[in-house]
Amino acid sequence: MTASESRIPLDVIWPRLIAIADEMATTMFRTAFSHDVVEVHDMSTGLLDHRGYLIAQTWLGATGHTGCMPAFGANLTKAFPPETVRPGDVFICNDPWLCNGQTADIFITTPAFHDGRLIGFAVNTIHHVDIGGRKGSGLSEEVFEEGLIIPMLRLYKEGEPNEELFGLIRRNVRYSEKMIGDLRAQVATGWAGCRAMETLCAEFKLDSLLEVADELIGRTEAGIRAGLRDLPDGQWHEEMLMDIDGIDEPQPLAVTVTIKGDELTADFTGTAPQVRRPINCPLNFTRAYVAIPTKMVCDPALPNNQGTYRPLHLTAPEGTILNPTYPASCFWRLSSGMLVGELMFRIFAQIVPDRVPADSGSLPTWQFYVTGTRPDGEDYALHQHAFGGMGGRPGRDGLSAVSFPYNVRDVSIEWSEHETPVLYEARQLIPDSGGAGTFRGGLGQELIFRAYDSGTADGQPLVFAGAAGRMRNPPEGLGGGGSGSLSTIDINGQPIAPNSSPEFSFHKGDVVRLALPGGGGHGDPAQRARENIEADLKAGYVTSDSARRDYGYDT
């Protein structure tokens, strides 16, 4: 027994730390007000040690949120060095350059103490129902149009709420009851996390989490490094084009990846300069989407923490789309940021094509608002996510219309129609949208909707604004697989111009159709098993025309 007495029971403590993050998520779901949190899961929870290092995160939660936590932790401890932090403090921040690249995502952080010493922080984020500004406008030119920017501030000081700050927020946002309710839920979530961290330190008689943190971060880091070491050294380059509102020519996103030993460097030189549209992606979010594919390829099984990010290095020229400078607009940064994920998958496809999917129509996720006015003059805002298909995978078809890799949920049609007078005519898969291949790309989905007549004010427009992509360059196949379908947005059958942050108005009687792209196919279509083609035909995933054309299949 003696040999082990100094040993930290990591077998028990590591799962416990993750369980604490999960418990925080549970507390959040039970106390939050907005559907985006409870149903959509556009949130995350985690634990930082007293240095601001990420040590655990919940098993669910939006990838972009968690991927930004290490950078956030560093910014937090810089703004509030340990000696300035008191029990009962609660910190708030949504600065896109300090947090995760968008004003709607607010980080709430709560310090935990044991025996009078700071042991760490419980951190959580919510994509808020509103933060003011132009409500997700696709036309914003500067971040000032995108709502309230909250630098690193104290929302509570030693247990006392900062009512002036609450008042300022309340006065600047729509649906303030819901929004403030969610903020309070975040505070409750933080306190729940802190209590559990304090209990853990007491139970295991730990003076701090330092030793535990170093051990588990070290193991996750070693897992990623081992994965990188298994890959050959070398340098690879990828580019994609994205369509930007108001600019005729599509603009490049570029990356050069160097793997040397167990380190990876992603250099985004060659990426277009930042633009006066909200698709600029602050560096924290860019980093998150470098890390996600790397983790999926190198070591998906180990819990995510600070260790994941240590072997990764980013170079991105300032003032570009993937490292814009304040005050660039960035509300829909996911339309460029998630393409960073695709660039990384393509890099890995060059290195280990048998371990990654083809291009995915689910990159980027389409997220949008439809705002309008009811007959009594009250405004409403519908919020929805829509998803393209995942690329075909070695050995298996891509999943259709899936939140990959984001992993958030939709808003149910019934809930949406219950809350807002927008009538959906369809949410279904689009036949033939998945790229042909030995392993077919997942299908994209279509959403068709219009104003619900009796719920809509006469003469008032409805406005659609959101993130989109892949309207000119489709998700490509891999290893001989075909492309997934292009995406389109049309109004009464008339397509809009390709755009990554579309904004347009429509009226009662107009029918809007969003067609999301399918994933690319993986491998030569001629190699696809006959029974899989037949099953696709029977299910209507593939039409007989396409079976003949793309697979040479004749009945």
Binding site: M1, S4, L10, D11, V12, P15, R16, A19, D22, T26, T27, R30, T31, A32, S34, H35, V38, H41, W59, L60, E177, K178, G181, R184, A188, T199, G223, I292, P300, A301, L302, N304, H385, F387, R393, R396, L399, S400, A401, V402, S403, P405, N407, V408, R409, D410, I413, E414, W415, E417, H418, A426, R427, Q428, L429, Q445, Y452, A539, G540, Y541
Partner: protein
């Protein structure tokens, strides 16, 4: 009840064994029997096993007044995908609801972890050009031609059951009912399940999934229940067959056959009922029932002696025990957690270099190494044996000798050696890790219910429950632990103490400010009448007890608290009660945010039908231990001597102190030093843990 028919029979058909428990109400004697489950036709195993009572209780068949039956048939049918060829009629434009699920994957970082494929393939998801909006307005009625076309497809494809789930049918079921009527004309023999009957609640994916699972299991469940009922009649039983429902009540075979979805938790729920019974007997406010067997552990927090009800059940999870990887089933069920943690859970070193235990299990075959039946992976039972918690010569009443050497060798090889840990250390780590896994799940369950584990009394049972309960209770900060008599087979007893009961939940969204008591009262009356009719089908006699309640939340908040309605409805009274309950649950309350009613609930049961136990009078006195044996004490951090007690020698009122081991035929209870034990009037061990909070 007639004294010439004093027997009450419980039959629990599990995956491996069918358990029988027979209560003689004239003297309170309880007898237990077991037979192997016969999966092809489970009634065969039932009729075989019943014969075990012929000798001790001649004439028991004719003298049985009630038969309560629990079965895992429904859950297993879905898990093994052995249900009917099922079609789904959906609103045109939305046939992919079932496949799209909520668009999420099972885990965030794994590329190959997929959700399960839908129970209805796309070619059997048949669109009908109908539409109802959220306000209940029918925008398009059901076209007869669409149904006719669907029937053609169904007949061609050999469909055996059909589910109908249209958008917004929870508000207005007219279109679903119209579809049912046309189906009845065109395909009269096809069993139909309407979503508005199964789960009249908002959220199309969850409702559709529930409806489809019901349709998928319906033909099989009906056949099984009919066969069983007929077989029991042929055997000579005159007592009615009652089925354990997921909500912890007993229902008729008719309801169970029409809504087999209500049987998903039929098996596991019995344990929670035992927990409630103990809470009632002892008038405890918070009871955590903890049931640990060979492959899984279950826990349920019972507050205020009422079974907690959830509508967030899932069946057939693709990744075992991972949330969101199965098919949602939204019918009311007792809210409990099930964890892949049991005596057979396998221990190994995982990729993090940590000891991981479960969820893979060595099951009964080959079983733990110490069973000597060819198992080679060390399990929780092997660790418990090594720690001295189990008696190798007196396991299962001495019916089975355990191989302690084999267990030790397996632990050494898999964990001790690679991790440079001593044997005891390796064994303790396995025991501790599985406890931590269970503690994490219990904490989550308790948090979800707004409770505090430290305030609860743990009631432990199942073969492995009492072995792990003490150290689990310590982790959770629980101070009082109870181990009832016959802990190893206790959950079957739950069948005997459950009353016939039904509940109905209906979506009804309305701000509290605009509360319409008359309308709600009318809805309540209608729901009550529906339950009355259902209860009539179980047992026509006996006084009924109804509980009405409202699910109330802040406008926009997606979780609600259930507010009982005891008197006349008024918005003020409801808000007042809501605020009290909300504060109790979450520790705060907003008086500046408006609240709304979201659901109406009615629960009805036949009063006094459950089993009432009367406590024995304790005469106290000392108790002698039957010996000593070394076992691991985490308090001491070493193997120390534990006093061993024979459970059969313990009588009400007796007291002793830890470290102690109490052996009983079906289970073993471990009590560390500094704890005290008292035997209560029901024969339970009441263990008080030392005061320090961990």
């Amino acid at each position: 009840m007639p004294s010439d028919r004093p027997y009450r029979l419980g039959v629990d058909v599990g995956g491996t064994f069918t358990d029988f428990v027979l209560l003689d109400e004239s003297d309170g004697a309880i007898r237990i029997a077991k037979s192997l489950t016969t999966p092809a036709d489970p009634s065969v195993g039932v009729f075989t096993g019943l014969r075990a009572f012929d000798d001790p209780c001649p004439g028991h068949i004719a003298a049985t007044n009630r038969i309560a039956h629990a079965t895992t048939l429904v859950a297993n049918t879905v898990i093994e995908r052995k249900g009917a060829v099922t079609a789904l009629l959906t609103t045109k434009g939305f046939r992919d609801i079932l496949e799209l699920r909520r668009h999420t994957r099972v885990t965030t970082y794994e590329l190959w972890e997929d959700p399960p494929t839908p129970l209805v393939p796309r070619w059997l998801r048949l669109p009908i050009d109908e539409r109802v909006f959220a306000d209940g307005v029918v925008l398009k009625p059901v076209p007869r031609d669409d149904i006719a076309a669907a029937v053609e497809v169904m007949q061609r494809e050999g469909v055996e059951s059909v589910a109908v789930a249209f958008l917004h049918s929870y508000v207005n079921p007219d279109n679903e009912r119209a579809a049912r009527d046309i189906l009845a004309e065109l395909a009269p023999d096809l069993p139909v399940t309407l979503s508005s009957d199964v789960l009249p609640q908002i959220k199309e994916y969850e409702r559709t999934s529930t409806t489809v699972v019901n349709g998928y299991v319906k033909p099989l469940a009906q056949t099984y229940l009919n066969n069983l009922g007929a077989g029991l009649g042929d055997t000579g039983y005159t007592a009615p067959l009652q089925i354990m429902l997921s909500n912890g009540g007993l229902g008729s075979t008719d309801t169970a056959g029409a809504f087999p979805i209500r049987l998903i938790e039929s098996g596991p729920v019995a344990g929670a009922i035992v927990g409630r019974q103990i809470a009632q007997n002892l008038n405890l406010a918070d009871v955590l029932s903890f049931d640990m067997g060979g492959t899984t552990a279950k826990a349920c927090l019972i507050r205020d002696q009422a079974l907690p009800i959830t509508e967030e059940l899932e069946v057939a999870r693709a990744k075992r025990f991972t949330k969101s990887s199965g098919f949602p089933v939204g019918v009311p069920a007792v809210s409990m957690i099930e964890i892949g943690a049991g005596g057979g859970s396998i221990a190994a070193i995982n990729r993090m270099g940590l000891v991981q235990v479960g969820p893979e299990s060595a099951s009964a075959e080959p079983g733990p190494i110490c069973y000597g039946r060819g198992g080679t992976n060390p399990t929780v039972t092997d660790a418990d044996l090594t720690l001295g918690y189990l008696n190798p010569d007196n396991f299962a009443g001495g019916s089975m000798a355990l191989d302690a050497k084999g267990a030790a060798a397996g632990l050494e090889e898999t964990i001790g050696g690679p991790q440079q840990r001593s044997l005891v250390e390796a064994a303790w780590t396995v025991h501790d890790v599985i406890n931590e896994t269970m503690a994490a799940a219990v904490r989550m369950h308790v948090t979800e219910r707004g409770g505090n584990p430290e305030a609860a009394t743990m009631v432990a049972f199942g073969g492995a429950g009492p072995v792990h309960a003490y150290n689990l209770a310590r982790k959770l900060g629980i101070r009082r632990l109870m181990v009832p008599l016959r802990a190893g087979v206790l959950s079957a007893l739950g069948l005997l103490v459950a009353p016939p009961a039904y509940d109905i939940v209906r979506t009804y969204k309305m701000p509290l400010a605009g509360l319409a008591p008359d309308d709600i009262g009318g809805q309540f009356d209608q729901m009550t009448a529906e339950i009355e009719a259902l209860l009539d089908g179980v047992e026509a006699t006996g006084p009924r007890r109804f509980r009405r309640s409202l699910d109330v939340g802040y406008v926009g908040q997606s979780y609600q608290v259930t507010v009982p309605v005891e008197d006349a409805l008024s918005a003020d009274a409801v808000f007042e009660r809501f605020s009290t309950l909300y504060r109790e649950k979450y520790g705060y309350f907003y008086d500046d945010v408006p609240a709304e009613v979201v659901n109406l609930r009615v629960f009805g049961e036949i009063e006094g039908a459950g089993l009432q136990l009367t406590p024995a009078v304790g005469n106290g006195g000392d108790v002698a231990s039957s010996g000593m044996r070394p076992a691991y004490s985490p308090t001491a951090g070493a193997m120390i001597d534990f006093a061993v007690y024979d459970r059969t020698a313990l009588a009400p009122g007796m007291r002793f102190a830890g470290p102690a081991i109490v052996e009983e035929q079906t289970s073993t209870t471990i009590i560390d030093s500094e704890a005290t034990v008292e035997i209560d009037g029901f024969g339970s061990l009441v263990i008080t843990l030392p005061g320090e909070t961990p």
